[in-house]
């Protein structure tokens, strides 16, 4: 028999205790947490017992019982009952509690969820008055329950209070030698914390219960919510207070600085790399998400600073500069402006949009560097690299080719040989050649500096745990950060043999610059420093400032591990990230965005469609890849615009305003609230509170649904009360029409405030149409009457436009895949070309391996002759170069075929042809 176990796995306790207690002879084997031992189960299930027959037992309780049975201790009704209760009732509660207590660090909360189970055990023990669960002596039930409860009950946070029977029993079983031994071998003296590495790899039980998010809204759950009388009364009370006691919106004065005893929020969005035009995925991942949150914080009257900028140093900039024949600085200037324009068009409300090529950046980076050096957190090492003297460049793997050191293949790449498949170290290549200039590179050893991450690991882990417990990290960010730590940290090179970067301030390293990843995140600090001299009040103030980093998930390692290590090592009381908000990826029409293939919508193109920026914002936020990847789709954009914006939100706000204009001469009528009205107020209040809670947790996409729910309720309310009919009725009816219109237009006004983080221009135009007082632009958890009876509103006009299918279809064609010009040109080419090429092209692959084909050769020889005549004739006529060129290409192609058909080696001429192109 062989028992498979994992260290720190709570389920192993009872099994090992049972082995010990029954004195079973059995081989113990420790394996990794995720190892799949049982061949027929798709998921890892440990511990498990392999029997001599080859069968597996994967149920811990069945294993325990089996060991007891072998000793002649058959199950009884009572032990069966306990085992079943443990597997069905107790384990469900325990897995949640363990996760809450150990991974999230909330022990009290976890203890609270278990009270009922403990009482149940305590009462059972009292009623039967046995010292053990099922008999006078210890049984399998005691071992099973003890094993399940031990991790929690042995921790001081889980007091049993006056549950005397349970406490007595637990102590009795703990004293059994077999149990002590099990604890020793599984927990290794680490107690509850010893379970952490195991639990972190399990899916979070609470999240498992949640349904996964998708592009579709979870329809109408809140519509079915039953409101209590109390909620309805409270909502009506709040409403009647009006704006008199309402807080005033805080006037924003630059520079915004943190205030003592207030909530101070510092928001960064990952710095976009300067040489690319951002695509919609970049925009939703960082700047747009951060913008919504920043606007929300300002509406809550929190001191909010939102900074971002372009990341400008590095090889890619240099390459781009070569391409465009500009200097790196000119490239940065050009593209920084492109970025700034795009974000401005999208309405991103940066307090400052800076860049990393500034004096401040140099000062702060060098300062952090010196501090790390002084504190001995940097290591020096030599790296051997190929360097091309004529290009003045160290060559990255794929920029060098040469003879394979193993098989002598002539075109082996710097990292691998395509022929023999072996991995190569670039310096081992024979006859290396620079791919750019064909010059011969030389091996140069170069000294580099490394950030000593292993030395900082313990500090990092401690900080990370605190930050994750107290802060709001998205699950993917937690997962990625943890897996980095789990895989072990290695020193990371922070210097580069480049010119375009921040010089390393050491004589020995004067020709080197910082590797971009080291200084890019420092950009957050330097950009703030360029905004205000008092930047340290934000960045060296962890007590007063809450830092939110927004990014796509690929950026998580730098923000959660590497950059915090730099700052922790520098020991200068830096503000470290409290809330790391990472999105998943946004796909384009179920494919990837690709600049080179021209697939997808890029920041500058969104404007060209003529669709307003706010519509783009709305749709991108509606499909924000929160929790899982999502896709941008043109037809979905049309659908969401026409259904959610036009028919739901726009329709409601417009109708409310129109009724005021048409029926009440543009003045908000007096209101006398009935139950129906109060109910709507309560519904809106409930959604408003949900919205606030969700946005505080940066669940941007979910919070948007609350807005749409309110207008949905509003539409139903108008539809049910029919003010357009009542206005023609009796006095009482007319009064009722007035109340309904007044309430509706106030809900519209509330929506304008809630909408502001998402659609700032639309929000502004609603408020303009309603002539809403500026004072309403504060978010609190009450819905008050903003526009009282008698308030004059302005001119009401529709907010949204319908998108037509053919319009959207034409954009889809334009942005999806190949550019249309190229596409159609390609097509006409294939169609127009005579069959000769088609014929010639087809056999390439076939003939390549077959060798000679005399008949085909004869045919091709004729075609070559014919084609040669065509070319000569064209040349004689002095035809256009392009025309001649096309025919020449055809001729060469035919000649190539001929060579193949004659059975000569294909490679030489084929290669030649390729290079000519």
């Amino acid at each position: 028999m062989r028992l498979y176990l994992t260290e720190g796995n709570p389920h192993c306790l009872k099994v090992v205790a049972a082995v010990e207690l029954t004195g079973t002879r059995c081989e113990l084997q420790f394996v990794g947490v995720e190892e799949r031992v049982v061949p027929f189960l798709s998921h890892s299930k440990l511990p498990c017992l392999q029997l001599d027959s080859g069968n597996y037992l994967f149920s811990t309780n069945a294993i325990c019982q089996y060991l007891f049975t072998l000793r002649g201790k058959e199950p009884s009704d009572l032990t069966n009952q306990w085992l079943e209760w443990e597997a069905t009732e107790l384990q469900t509660a325990l897995s949640g509690a363990l996760y809450t207590a150990v991974v999230q660090g909330k022990k009290e909360e976890a203890a609270g969820t278990l009270q009922k189970k403990w009482t149940y055990i305590d009462q059972s023990l009292t009623r039967r008055s046995f010292p053990y669960l099922a008999a006078d002596a210890i049984t399998v039930a005691d071992i099973v329950l003890w094993g399940a409860l031990y991790p929690l009950l042995s921790d001081s946070a889980f007091l049993l209070g006056d549950l005397k029977a349970l406490r007595g029993w637990f102590e009795r079983v703990c004293a059994v030698a077999a149990c002590r031994k099990a604890v020793e071998s599984i927990l290794k003296g680490k107690g509850l914390q010893g379970l952490k590495p195991y639990l972190q790899k399990q899916p979070a039980p609470s999240q498992r219960a949640e349904t996964p998010t998708s592009n579709e809204p979870e329809g109408g759950e809140s519509a079915d919510r039953v409101l209590t009388e109390e909620e309805i009364r409270a909502a009506a009370d709040s409403w009647s207070k009006g704006l008199s006691g309402w807080p005033k919106p805080k006037l924003i004065q630059h520079p915004v600085l943190p205030q003592p005893n207030e909530k101070n929020v510092l928001i960064t969005s990952a710095l976009p790399y300067v040489n690319n035009v951002p695509h919609l995925g970049n925009i939703i991942g960082c700047v747009l998400s951060a913008d919504v949150f920043a606007r929300f914080c300002r509406l809550r009257n929190w001191s909010t600073l939102f900074v971002c900028g372009t990341d400008e140093y590095g090889t890619a900039t240099e390459t781009k500069a070569l391409e465009e024949g500009l200097s790196p600085q000119q490239i940065c200037d050009k593209y920084h402006a492109v970025h700034a324009q795009i974000y401005q068009w999208f309405g991103i409300s940066f307090d400052h949009f800076g860049r990393t090529t500034t004096q401040r950046q140099r000062e702060i980076s060098q300062d952090i560097f010196r501090r790390l050096l002084e504190r001995d957190f940097l290591l020096q090492d030599t790296v051997e690299q190929l360097r091309c003297e004529s290009c003045q460049k160290f060559l990255a793997d794929r920029f060098v080719e040469g003879f394979c050191p193993f098989c002598n293949y002539e075109e082996a790449r710097g990292d691998q040989c395509d022929k023999c498949g072996k991995l190569i170290n670039a310096t081992e290549l024979k006859n290396p050649q620079c791919k750019i200039c064909k010059g011969t590179p030389v091996v140069k050893s170069s000294k580099h500096l490394f950030l000593d991450l292993p030395k900082l690991e313990s500090r990092l882990v401690k900080w990370l745990e605190d930050s994750m417990v107290s802060g709001n990290w998205t699950p993917n960010a937690r997962f990625i950060a943890r897996s980095w730590i789990r895989d072990g940290l290695k020193p990371r090179c922070i210097t580069r043999d480049l010119k375009w970067g921040i010089p390393v301030p050491l004589e020995e390293f004067k020709d080197k610059v910082f590797y971009v990843w080291f200084d890019a995140p420092i950009g957050y600090l330097s950009i703030t420093a360029n905004y205000t001299d008092q930047w340290e009040r934000w960045w060296k103030n962890p007590e007063q400032v809450q830092l939110y980093n927004f990014m796509a998930k690929d950026n998580v390692p730098f923000h959660s591990v590497v950059f915090p290590c730099s700052l922790l090592g520098a020991e200068d009381n830096y503000t470290l990230v409290n809330h790391l908000i990472a999105t998943e990826y946004l796909n384009y029409e179920d494919g990837k965005f690709s600049k080179s293939r021209g697939v997808g919508v890029f920041g500058d193109m969104a404007k060209e469609t003529g669709i307003p920026a706010d519509i783009w914002r709305f749709y991108l936020l509606f499909i924000r890849p929160e929790g899982q990847d999502s896709s941008f789709s043109w037809s979905d954009l049309l659908l969401k615009n026409n259904s959610e914006l036009l028919n739901n939100l726009g329709n409601f706000i417009n109708r409310a305003g129109m009724f005021v204009c048409k029926f009440f001469e543009g003045r908000v009528p007096e209101m006398e609230l009935h139950d129906d009205d109060k109910r709507l107020l309560a519904q809106a209040t409930w959604e408003l509170r949900q919205y606030l809670q969700l946005l505080e947790k940066v669940r941007i996409r979910d919070a948007l649904k609350c807005i749409l729910n309110i207008s949905r309720h509003g539409n139903q309310y108008i539809q049910a009360n029919e003010p357009w009919k009542r206005i023609k009725g009796t006095d009482a009816d007319r009064k009722r029409a007035g109340t309904v219109t007044g309430v509706a237009v106030n809900v519209a006004c509330l929506l304008s405030v809630m909408l502001q983080p998402y659609m700032p221009s639309v929000s502004a135009s609603i408020q303009e149409q309603l002539l809403a007082p500026a004072q309403c632009n504060v978010l609190a958890d009450e819905f008050v009457c903003i526009l009282p009876g008698g308030h004059k509103i302005g001119t009401v006009s529709p907010l949204f436009q319908k998108l037509e299918t053919d319009e959207v279809e034409s954009w889809r064609k334009r942005f999806g895949g190949q550019q249309p010009e190229e596409g159609s040109a390609d097509q006409s080419k294939t169609e127009a070309k005579p069959t000769a090429e088609a014929k010639a092209a087809a056999p390439v692959a076939e003939d390549a391996g077959k060798g000679a084909d005399p008949q085909r050769a004869k045919q091709l020889a004729e075609e070559v002759t014919k084609q040669g005549e065509v070319v000569r004739e064209l040349k004689a006529q002095k035809a256009e170069k392009a025309v001649i060129g096309a025919e020449v290409t055809k001729l060469l192609e035919l000649k190539k075929q001929l060579v193949l058909a004659e059975g000569k080696t294909a490679e030489a001429p084929a290669q030649k042809g390729k290079k000519k192109k």
Binding site: S42, N55, F58, N61, L70, D77, Q81, L83, T88, R208
Partner: protein
């Protein structure tokens, strides 16, 4: 929420839980072989009883159902009954647990989980097992030959 059955006997304490009660009744009926003949068979039988009340009854959503069917299909590849070569209580209770899932399966899925289907059909035709449950129709000839 899952309801837990309780057995209140005339002359003794009550017993709680589906598998505990079933095992008790099997004993009462002098049908001990249904609980397994050897220690190993007993343990395997018990394991599948637990699987019934934790995994099959506790499954949430399509993905988990699929995992259950996939795992069982793999397990039953070389077995006649859940505990090997003998019919046990585990076959009865797992059959009852799977019945609603099997009823919902499309023909193609039944073919995909061919070992589960074979076992299920065998159990539902076992004398006295099916009781009030409608039989689940199993195709005798494969319709989708290139399925996997």
């Amino acid at each position: 929420l899952q309801q837990v059955p309780i057995l209140q006997a005339n002359n003794g304490p009550s017993l709680m839980g589906l598998t505990a009660i079933a095992a008790h009744l099997v004993q009462e009926a002098q049908q001990k072989q249904l609980l397994g003949r050897t220690a190993e068979e007993k343990a395997i039988m018990q394991q599948w009883l637990e699987y019934r009340v934790t995994q099959i009854d506790g499954h949430r959503g399509k993905d988990e159902t699929r995992t259950i069917l996939k795992d069982l299909n793999h397990y039953l590849e070389d077995k006649v009954y859940l505990a090997g070569n003998n019919f046990t209580l585990a076959d009865i209770l797992v059959y009852y647990g799977l019945h609603p899932i099997m009823t919902e399966l499309a023909v193609q899925e039944k073919e995909k989980y061919v070992n589960v289907s074979r076992w299920f059909d065998h159990i539902q035709n076992y004398p006295g097992i099916r009781q009030h449950l409608p039989p689940v129709v199993m195709m005798k000839n494969r319709l989708y030959t290139s399925g996997h």
